[in-house]
């Protein structure tokens, strides 16, 4: 382990000495606004409330809002215009397809992909096991019907279908913490994880895998639900690692 102040650890060091409360809060603000924007709760081009009003609404300091907006601007999700009629405006991601995500993918190492993959596999697998133990067959069928209604159209289709599926399974555990972990991980890696070179071709197999997992949950077969889920997530992690490798070839 490297000592705190050693060269090569400037980020860790600055993080350590950042004011604790505000640090977590800026991240929380980013997460909320990012999620609200990417799923369309906040419309494209919509003006965000003024910084002071946002701070008031979310119960954080104005400086925290400013910090969060810097992050959102760097992610291209917010546009800030100066002068008359200025302010911060929502920008919908122009495409959640491979092209739009390439920059982010290049910034990830294979080690990071493996690491977040392990974390996500653990969470999703445990969620499937508990969901199988704690769901009634009727509830599983209600989830299945709900998921059938989730459109897979457009470039973000696979992501939308996967995200809905995993969130429903997480909520079926009846565990608020597991559900929060699921949402957090989805926010962190979901968009990349559910990318596929052939988006249209990927949705069918994904829905089939979800169907098999839901069958196991309905049958209260916890071991099978877990194994199928782990294999399903692992497949996505490997696909992402393949994409990352291909990126490095292209440079």
């Amino acid at each position: 382990m490297r000592p705190l102040g050693a060269p090569g650890a400037p980020l860790a060091r600055s993080t350590v000495f950042a004011p604790l409360d505000q640090l977590g809060r800026a991240e929380a603000v980013v997460r909320r606004l990012r999620d609200a924007i990417t799923v369309g709760l906040l419309a494209d081009g919509e003006p965000l409330p003024a910084e002071a009003d946002l701070a008031d609404l979310l119960g954080v300091a104005t400086v925290t809002i400013r910090e969060a907006l810097v992050t959102l601007r760097s992610e291209g999700l917010v546009d800030t215009r100066r002068g008359r009629g200025g302010g911060s405006f929502v920008r919908h991601p122009v495409g959640v397809g491979l092209a739009a995500q390439r920059e982010r993918l290049r910034s990830l190492t294979l080690a990071e992909i493996r690491d977040v993959g392990d974390h996500y596999t653990a969470i999703a697998g445990a969620a499937a096991r508990l969901a199988a133990e704690r769901s009634s067959p009727a509830e599983v069928e209600a989830v299945r019907d709900g998921l059938d209604g989730v459109s897979s159209a457009g470039p973000g289709g696979l992501h939308r279908v996967e995200r809905a599926f995993h969130l429903e399974v997480a909520a079926a555990t009846q565990s608020a913490r597991l559900t929060r972990s699921e949402v957090l991980l989805q926010g962190e890696i979901g968009m990349l994880l559910w990318l596929a070179p052939d988006m249209d071709g990927a949705v069918g197999p994904a829905r089939a895998a979800h169907g098999a997992i839901l069958d196991a949950v309905r049958d209260a077969d916890a071991a099978r639900a877990r194994a199928l889920t782990e294999a399903h997530v692992q497949e996505a992690v490997e696909r992402l690692a393949e994409l990352r490798l291909a990126e490095s070839d292209g440079r």
Partner: protein, 264 residues
């Protein structure tokens, strides 16, 4: 617990109830179910001023803008303050066509991180379809039936981000459904209120919903959120001599199993 929402009656030192004969135990369970019924009725009564305020707002402004709902801030605050030991969120959620400038809006305020109330900017669901709360039971059931509804217990990833019971009441203007008003009750708070009296009922007593989902249980093997599979609560829900004593017409009941109440 405490305040006017405290469940009256049996407190510590209730060994006499635990050891009482089956009829006495049943009477204690009936009394608890009655208390829960009264508390939930009271929570719905607390929503009435908010329902009226929302109704008035839609009469004054047939198609209000989202910003107009800020007028509800005070009455929502009053609703939250009426039962601080139970309620962690409250507000109004409009129907898709009720507002002039939005198809989705949550005028919902929470005290999950302590007072003062904060307006909820929901952590996003997985997709537009899921953010579309017209699929959420706390919205769909009152919209469809025209009657009040208790949803849960469930992980409310939409609003409180916690294990929750949600009470909702439909709001109408000239007979047309314009949305719901409601409150979120944290399951942790219900537990604080109910557990002492459940303990007095015996080693395997629980507050469950009509699907058999545990809200509070005295059995560690039937933890919060699990489904009681034996007895089959859903199947015997309407059976007056069954294992569950219903809390009025709410989908909540006190579970007492025959094995622990022999002869009942």
């Amino acid at each position: 617990m405490g305040g006017e929402y405290g469940v009256p009656g049996v407190g510590p030192g209730t060994g006499a109830v635990m050891n009482a004969d089956a009829a006495g135990a049943r009477a204690a369970a009936v009394a608890l179910a009655q208390s829960v019924h009264e508390v939930v009725e009271r929570l719905f009564a607390d929503l009435e001023p908010l329902r009226v305020a929302v109704e008035d707002l839609y009469v004054a402004l047939p198609r209000p803008r989202a910003a107009d709902l800020a007028q509800l801030r005070d009455v929502i605050g009053t609703t939250l303050a009426a039962a601080p030991d139970l309620v962690v969120g409250a507000g109004h959620v409009p129907a898709g066509d009720a507002l002039a400038d939005r198809t989705r809006w949550l005028e919902w305020w929470t005290v999950t991180s302590g007072p003062p109330p904060r307006r909820l900017l929901p952590d996003a669901g997985p997709s537009e379809e899921h953010l579309d709360y017209t699929r959420q039971p706390w919205f769909t059931v009152p919209a469809r039936t025209g009657a009040r509804h208790v949803t849960g217990p469930y992980v409310d990833y939409f609003c409180t981000d916690d294990y929750t019971l949600t009470l909702t009441v439909p709001v109408r203007r000239e007979g047309r459904f314009v949305g719901v008003v409601g409150s979120d009750v944290s399951v942790a708070n219900v537990e604080r209120l109910v557990l002492p009296r459940l303990r007095a009922l015996g080693p395997r007593a629980a507050l469950v919903n009509d699907r058999g989902r545990v809200v509070v249980s005295t059995s560690v093997r039937e933890a919060t959120g699990s489904i009681v599979r034996s007895p089959d609560v859903a199947a015997s829900w309407h059976d007056d001599d069954g294992p569950v004593i219903r809390c009025g017409d709410f989908p909540l009941g006190v579970l007492r199993t025959r094995e622990h109440f022999p002869g009942s």
